[in-house]
Symmetry: C2
Subunit: 209 residues, 2 copies
DNA sequence: TTTATTTTAGTACAATCGTGCAACTAATTC
DNA sequence: GAATTAGTTGCACGATTGTACTAAAATAAA
């Protein structure tokens, strides 16, 4: 196996390499979103990109690195999108509402990417069969909503949460958001505005006193 | 492709065939639950069953039939388990509580099976890339909880739901239950009782006036 | 312009995949 | 007991997979 360390230790990636990596990631996203993880071979991705398979192996150490990149890029973009919106809110109740709204908006605007991420994350396994994405990944995802719930509880607006009930609440919100993605995938003409409104109502009721 | 119709049109399955099919399905469940859908080849399943791959193809028309059987058996068992428990309740509020409790209990008692089902269902695709399990499958799953919510609304115990808000509520409950499965998969020592209690609280608050 | 480096196409390779089937063994039927 | 059916092993086959690599083309540097 050839170790490719140029992007983390050596000099900057060239303009060509950046463009090519980006194209390959984009084609991987589309391929996975359209035919599913199991069918999305490097051959299929290369075909979509109109390049040779060898180009993929030149730019990425292996398939795993390519697929991980899909997830990494998504979460980077997600965080950059969500964080400032939430920080701009004054009250935890507004933060909760904006958290849900912005998540669903982001998903709608990045449909394929989020679908590809869910496929990659749910199918990734370690050599011994465990989930490939570590639990610190989950913690990172859950942190913002857990902070919002904690803040709301401290402000006396939200109900009293124990450590575990706060975790279940946060997980349930995240599960609802991921579930929205699947629903959008099955029904491309879903009324997103209405879905969002209902989710906000639901979680406001369940979070407040 | 050889069409195997013996189990649906011809005479009864023999004792041997029933036992063998059951064993193969069981090994498929374990294989998928342990190493994931993508790695669960017929060879892996046959190895686990200590049989030749040809035995699988003798008893099942193709891999798809075998995997479908995993889901069919799960949902049959799930429905038999859930329905009487809910029917025994007098009020929609009790039904909602028992719905959540019995779902999580059933999942805990059938961990591998439900994990395998989630893997199969989420990865199944039609020839043109669409989700393989049709939307009538979703409707069947959602019907019980939708009925409970409708009943509660008619009794004046639950809040007023529009058609769409009822659907979002039902979906969110199902997403929470599926999310519990994933959590259980990642953390085998999860406190199920506590998780259940929190979920019941959460959805009671969100459903009532 | 020449040389050095990067990038690409094309393909070899071992391994694996699902499907299919011949040959064999075991059990049942006539 | 012979014929038929049920059940199994072992493996062929075409296709595909991810990894790896050579030679050629393209680009950058001297």
């Amino acid at each position: 196996m050839s170790i490719k360390i140029k992007s983390t230790n050596q000099k900057e990636m060239s303009f060509i390499e950046k463009a090519r990596r980006s194209q390959i990631v984009e084609c991987a996203i589309e391929t996975i979103a359209e035919i599913g993880y199991a069918q999305a071979s490097l051959g299929q991705i290369a075909k979509r990109a109109k390049i040779s398979k060898g180009v993929i192996s030149y730019h990425f150490a292996n398939k795993e690195e390519l697929l991980d990149q899909i997830a990494i890029e998504y979460y980077t973009a997600w965080q950059s999108y969500i964080a400032p919106l939430i920080e701009a809110q004054k009250s935890p109740k507004e933060m909760l509402r904006v958290y849900i709204e912005s998540n669903l908006t982001f998903i709608e605007e990045n449909r394929k990417h989020v679908i590809a991420v869910i496929e990659v994350v749910s199918n990734k396994r370690t050599a011994d069969g465990k989930f490939g994405f570590a639990s610190d990944h989950d913690e990172t995802i859950l942190l913002p909503i857990e902070n919002i719930l904690t803040l709301g509880m401290q402000d006396g607006i939200f109900r009293e949460f124990t450590r575990s009930s706060l975790r279940v609440m946060a997980l349930t919100i995240r599960n609802a958001i991921d579930g929205f993605t699947l629903e959008l995938m099955k029904k491309s003409h879903l009324d997103v505005q209405e879905y969002t409104r209902e989710l906000v109502t639901l979680f406001e009721k369940s979070a407040t006193k």
